[in-house]
Subunit: 334 residues, 2 copies
């Protein structure tokens, strides 16, 4: 076990970030949270703020000197800040480059300056593109060299590459790259459950669906995601490995069709809306109609998810029902 | 065959770039050359400047508006401008990001603005890292998802990812990514033959060698490299493929040990220097001690190299002997 005593969390006011902050504080860790509040939600940190071991800094990851100064004293960086708006990449083609690639370079340079050697990075299954994935089989970490299909995936793959170069170049001691499926759960404010529930609040009789609903995706409950990251980070699996960079897919060993998910949601709400499909077998340009990650590597470390996809979707829905304020707060917090 | 009528060449005053410009002009193509002359050599374009179909623009790829304006009217972009100084990545960790990743993003945005749909990109076998490459076997284009080992490789892989995202997102019509082994030949001003010959000019009795000389590398003669790029680009292999992005390894079907190359060079010069090894099985942090690319895909299109590695090394040496001015000109032109 390798203790984490003082964690630095970028994107601390986001969906995964704020849940991670709460967990670290509950575990006795000192936490410095960093967020530019472009999409973070101040209310997500209400609990953390009451804890004397928590310090929140409002800052932008593109501001390298401030970032490096803020990081001093930390012994582990969780780099979760990102642009997660995968759908609209072409309406702002520089955003992924800036917020996911250049920002990650800044985090790494700040770590060099501040002398922090360990990092965990929230990457994505989107880095696999779709080009070379075997149909219907889960994608392993060592899948074939991908052809990127979205700016988001390309920008996250670039962030991974930078982290690996720093680690293999002995500028870091341990690097953990987690390729997430879609994460959902408490404080989820971005994705299909969020969108569907908003629609059904506005018009319970109909539901617009991107694509034809046959897209198959995998989802992971946010607490399971955080469990996995902390499990691996504390075991220090990169410390004694041939490579200081360890990559783990994070997901459940199952997937669902969008249409199945609609079934879960409508049953839970007691609704039977008319489904209005936009058509085509993908939701948007660059959408991958099949995301299903091989998670044997992370499960071999002893972690496993506690919730199924269906349970995760229902829990997300219940949280949204109890927190409708997120629909009127600034949108697309992560 | 898809004609190239007006080519835009970034890095036009560099090693590969200036040779490509000459070839395109000889083929009747109109050429706009773009270079910031940070490492380009004005003299490499002496021949081109005499041709009325050639226009040279001094500009920086980081200046997006100027780049987009310069690109108007072109129908094919050869994006060769890059930082190629792989060894010294850690002394200027932002240079690869800026000159290889951000610059490539700018080239793609400029192409969108200027309405240019076809691109060829000089990538590198360094994108394969070394993590997952099978020992002694040549690395195919669909090798396992690599762990990056250098900032240079990471920055080029990121450039590839951006190009693929643009192409798969229908922002480009055809994208050709060429993963080069080390290129050598006329106007070569960067690499081991350059370094060894400079040393032997200064002190013919001894030669300092990075690593232990057992590093195995593959090399390709610059005219063979240019033949390959033009062969594929003119066939338009990406036009009718499942993916608009086509990736080709470029190299010879052989490799040599650094020690063998030293043998070729010393024999050609009639010298027997004392060899002073720095030790270790790699030349620098992040050096890949084995680079050997599987080139079956490009050879299946009908291209094959005309020179062996030994012939390429000797031709390079003869050019350096006849052009010692490059050692006093600004260093590290590419």
């Amino acid at each position: 076990m390798t203790a984490i005593k003082h964690a630095f969390v970028t994107g601390a006011a986001g969906f995964v970030g704020s849940n991670l902050v709460d967990r670290l504080l509950a575990d006795g860790v000192t936490v410095t949270g960093w967020d530019n509040f472009s999409t973070g939600q101040d209310r997500f940190l209400d609990g953390a703020r009451a804890n004397p071991r928590f310090r929140l800094l409002r800052g932008d990851t593109l501001d390298l000197p401030a970032l490096a100064a803020a990081m001093r004293g930390a012994d582990f960086v969780f780099h979760l800040a990102a642009n997660a708006d995968i759908k609209d990449g072409w309406s702002h083609p520089r955003r992924d480059l800036e917020q996911n690639t250049i920002a990650t370079s800044n985090v790494l340079e700040a770590m060099r300056t501040a002398g922090v050697g360990r990092i965990a990075f929230s990457s994505t299954g989107s880095v696999y593109g779709e080009a070379l994935v075997t149909p219907d089989a889960p994608t392993p970490e060592d899948a074939a060299f991908p052809v990127q299909t979205s700016l988001y995936g390309a920008s996250k793959a670039a962030g991974e590459g930078l982290i690996a170069a720093y680690a293999e170049g002995a500028q870091l001691t341990e690097a953990y790259i987690f390729r997430f499926v879609s994460i959902l759960g408490e404080r989820y404010t971005h994705g299909h459950v969020f969108d569907f529930y908003r629609q059904l609040l506005e018009h319970p009789d109909r539901l617009a669906v991107l694509g034809d609903g046959t897209q198959r995706k995998s989802y992971l409950y946010v607490q399971d995601c955080i469990d996995a990251m902390l499990h691996v980070a504390r075991r220090g699996t990169a410390r004694d490995a041939r490579h200081r960079t360890q990559v783990y897919n994070l997901g459940t060993p199952e997937y669902v069709e969008v249409n199945q998910s609609i079934g879960f949601i409508c049953a839970a709400l007691g609704l039977s809306p008319r489904l209005e499909y936009s058509g085509g077998n993908r939701g948007w340009v660059g959408d991958n109609p099949f995301i299903f990650l091989d998670t044997r590597k992370i499960r071999a470390t002893g972690w496993q998810p506690r919730l199924t996809i269906e349970q995760g979707i229902i829990r997300t829905l219940r949280w949204l029902e109890a927190n409708r304020w997120v629909y009127t707060a600034r949108r697309e917090a992560r």
